[in-house]
C-alpha cells in the first residue's frame, strides 16, 4: 500500500465512524463535535485529491459554521433534561432497507461506468488549478450562469434575513 492509500483508509474510517456517532450520540454538543470530525475528514479527502482550494473552503465554511451550531446546541438543551426516550421508531427496518438498497444501487451503477476502476491521470505539472477554477467560474462558456444564480440566491437569503430581523422590532 502506498502512503496515500493508508491515509485514505484512515480518513474514510474516521468519516464513517464519526458520521455514525453524530446520529447515535445523545449529547447534542457531542453530536456537533463528531460532525466537525466527519467534515474535517471530507476536507482531508479533498486534500488527497489535490483540490486544496475545496479542502480549505470545506474547513472555513463547515467547521467555522459549526461553532454557531454549537452555540444553538448549548442554548437549546439542558443536561438534566436530556431526552431519555428511544432513539429509533418502528420504521427503522424499512429505513435500513431503503438505505441499503440506495447504497447498493449507486454502487452497481457506478461499477458499470468505465471510469470506476481507472486511476485518475496525474495533474500536469505547472498548472495552477486555482487559476483554472477561477477562470471557469467567470467564463461565459463555463460556469458563469450557475455562479451568478447562486450569488443571487444567497443575496435573496441575505435580504430576507435582514427584513425578518428588522421588521420584528416594530
Amino acid at each position: 500500500m502506498t502512503p496515500d492509500q493508508i491515509i485514505f483508509l484512515l480518513c474514510a474510517a474516521l468519516i464513517v465512524s464519526s458520521a455514525l456517532m453524530v446520529v447515535t450520540t445523545r449529547n447534542l454538543v457531542h453530536a456537533a463535535l463528531w460532525l466537525v470530525a466527519a467534515l474535517f475528514g471530507v476536507a482531508i479527502l479533498y486534500g488527497l485529491l489535490q483540490a486544496g482550494f475545496l479542502a480549505l473552503v470545506q474547513v472555513v465554511v463547515y467547521i467555522g459554521a459549526i461553532a454557531i451550531l454549537f452555540i444553538f446546541a448549548v442554548m437549546l438543551t439542558r443536561r438534566e433534561k436530556r431526552d431519555k426516550g428511544p432513539q429509533i421508531n418502528q420504521n427503522w427496518m424499512i429505513s435500513a432497507l431503503l438505505a441499503f438498497l440506495t447504497f447498493g444501487g449507486l454502487t452497481y451503477i457506478l461499477s458499470s461506468w468505465d471510469g470506476f476502476s481507472k486511476t485518475a491521470n496525474a495533474l500536469p505539472t505547472g498548472v495552477d488549478t486555482l487559476m483554472v477554477l477561477g477562470k471557469a467560474l467567470v467564463s461565459p462558456d463555463a460556469y458563469v450562469l450557475p455562479f451568478e444564480v447562486a450569488s443571487i440566491l444567497l443575496l435573496a437569503a441575505l435580504v430576507g434575513a435582514v427584513f425578518i430581523a428588522s421588521s420584528s422590532k416594530e
Binding site: L33, G52, F53, V57, I63, A67
Partner: protein, 406 residues
C-alpha cells in the same frame, strides 16, 4: 548546493539518502523525512513561544513602568523555564461536572490551530513548510479551529463565566473574520497569487504597505480581534467574567492556552510582515546589486523575517497594553457598521485601480493616493456623524440647574 545556501533541503536530501541506504523505498523515505521536518518546525515554533513568554513579560513591564522579571539569569532571561516548571508541577484539576474528553482536548486544539499556521510561514526563500497556492485562505481556515477550541473549552468547563467568555469570543471571531478575509484579499489582488511565498516575492521591489496602507490597518485591527487581545479581550475580561473561557484550566493546560496566544500574536506579527512589509525579503531590489547578494542568504532572510515579525508582535503588544477594553455592543457596531463596509469599499477600489493603473507609470502613486483619499473621506464622514450625534445629544440633555448656596 552548500549548507550556507540551502540548509534545509541539503539535510533533507541527505536524510533521504540515508533512509534509502537502509533499504527503504523512495516513497517511505520521503514520508519519514517529511515527518521529521514537521517535528523540527513544531519544535522551532515552540522554542519561539518559550522566548516570547520572556519578551511579553518584559515589554508589558516597560509599558507599566515596572522592571519585569530580573532575577533568573541576565535580564531575567531564564524566567520562562521557571514558569514552565511551575506550570508542570501545579495540581491538574478537572472540575466536577466537566465533560472530561472535550475539556482535555480544547487546549490541544487551541495550540494546534496556531502550530498549523506555521506550515505555511515562509521563514526564508528556502526555509518553509509548504508553499500552497491557497496559503492566504489556509490562514483563515486554520483560524476556525481556534474558534472551535474556545467554545469547546467554554462549554466543557461546566462554568457560567467560561461559557459567557466563549460566546463572546465566538461573536468576535465570526464578525471580524469578514474584514480579515477582505484585508487578506488586498495583497492577493496586488500580487496576483494566494501563495504567501508568491506574495513575499512580489514585494521584492516595493512593500505592499505603500500600495495599500489602509489594507494593513484593516488586517491589523481584525488580527487583534481574532487574537482576542485588548481592546477586544472581552472573552477574558477579568473585571467581568474572571478569566473567560480558560477559567477552569490549571497547570500546563492553561500553559497551552497561554503559549498558543503568545505564539498566535507573534505569528500574526509575522503575517503582517509577509503580507505588507516584504516578509523575509523586500530589500527594494538591493539584493540584486553585486555588493549585496549576501542579503538573499537564507540565514540572513530568516533573521530579517524574525525581526520584522517581532516588530509586528511589538505593535500588537503596544496596542494591547495601551487601550482599555471596549464594550461588546461597541465591538459589534464597530465591525458591522464601520470596518466591514470600509473593507468592501477598499477591496473594490483596490481591484479597480490595480487593473486600471497597472500598465501606466502612475501605479504606485495612484494606489497610494487612492488610499489617502479614501481615508480622508472616511474620517470626514465620521466627523460629520459624531458632530450630528453630539448636537443631538446636547439638545436632549437636561439643562444644568444652578444650585443656590445658602
Amino acid at each position: 548546493m552548500t549548507f550556507w545556501n540551502d540548509p534545509i533541503n541539503l539535510i533533507a536530501g541527505w536524510l533521504r539518502d540515508v533512509f534509502m541506504g537502509w533499504g527503504m523505498t523512495a516513497g517511505l523515505a520521503n514520508v519519514i523525512t517529511s515527518l521529521i521536518g514537521i517535528i523540527v518546525m513544531i519544535l522551532f515554533a515552540m522554542l519561539i513561544a518559550i522566548a516570547l513568554v520572556w519578551v511579553e513579560r518584559k515589554v508589558v513591564a516597560r509599558f507599566q513602568d515596572r522592571l519585569g522579571p530580573n532575577r533568573i539569569g541576565p535580564f531575567g532571561i531564564f524566567q520562562p523555564f521557571a514558569d514552565i516548571v511551575k506550570l508542570i508541577i501545579k495540581e491538574d484539576i478537572t472540575p466536577a461536572g466537566a465533560d472530561k474528553v472535550v475539556f482535555n482536548m480544547a487546549p490541544v486544539i487551541s495550540l494546534a490551530s496556531v502550530i498549523l499556521i506555521w506550515a505555511i510561514v515562509p521563514l526564508a526563500s528556502k526555509i518553509y513548510g509548504v508553499d500552497i497556492n491557497v496559503g492566504v485562505l489556509y490562514l483563515v481556515a486554520v483560524g476556525s479551529f481556534g474558534t472551535l477550541s474556545v467554545i469547546m473549552a467554554g462549554w466543557a468547563s461546566n462554568n457560567k463565566y467560561a461559557l459567557i467568555g466563549a460566546f463572546r469570543m465566538v461573536a468576535t471571531m465570526i464578525s471580524y473574520e469578514i474584514p480579515m478575509v477582505v484585508a487578506l484579499m488586498i495583497p492577493t489582488i496586488i500580487a496576483g497569487t494566494m501563495s504567501v511565498k508568491g506574495i513575499t516575492e512580489a514585494q521584492s521591489n516595493l512593500w505592499f504597505v505603500i500600495l495599500s496602507p489602509l489594507g494593513l490597518l484593516l488586517f491589523m485591527i481584525s488580527a487583534i480581534a481574532e487574537l482576542g487581545r485588548s481592546p477586544f479581550d472581552l472573552n477574558e475580561a477579568e473585571s467581568e467574567i474572571v478569566a473567560g473561557f480558560h477559567i477552569e484550566y490549571s497547570g500546563m493546560k492553561f500553559g497551552l492556552f497561554y503559549a498558543g496566544e503568545l505564539l498566535h500574536a507573534f505569528t500574526f506579527g509575522g503575517f503582517m510582515a509577509v503580507l505588507f512589509f516584504g516578509g523575509y525579503g523586500g530589500f527594494f531590489g538591493l539584493e540584486k546589486l553585486s555588493a549585496f547578494t549576501w542579503l538573499s542568504n537564507p540565514f540572513i532572510e530568516l533573521v530579517v523575517f524574525l525581526v520584522k515579525a517581532l516588530i509586528g508582535y511589538w505593535i500588537i503588544m503596544w496596542v494591547k497594553y495601551s487601550m482599555p477594553r471596549i464594550r461588546i455592543d461597541h465591538m459589534l457596531t464597530f465591525n458591522w457598521k464601520f470596518l466591514t463596509p470600509l473593507a468592501f469599499v477598499l477591496l473594490m477600489m483596490t481591484a479597480l485601480f490595480d487593473k486600471l493603473l497597472a500598465p501606466t507609470q502612475f501605479y504606485v502613486v495612484g494606489m497610494f493616493l487612492s488610499n489617502v483619499v479614501l481615508a480622508w473621506i472616511v474620517i470626514e464622514i465620521l466627523r460629520r456623524y459624531s458632530k450630528r450625534e453630539r448636537v443631538e445629544h446636547e439638545k436632549n440633555a437636561e439643562p444644568v440647574i444652578q444650585v443656590a448656596h445658602h
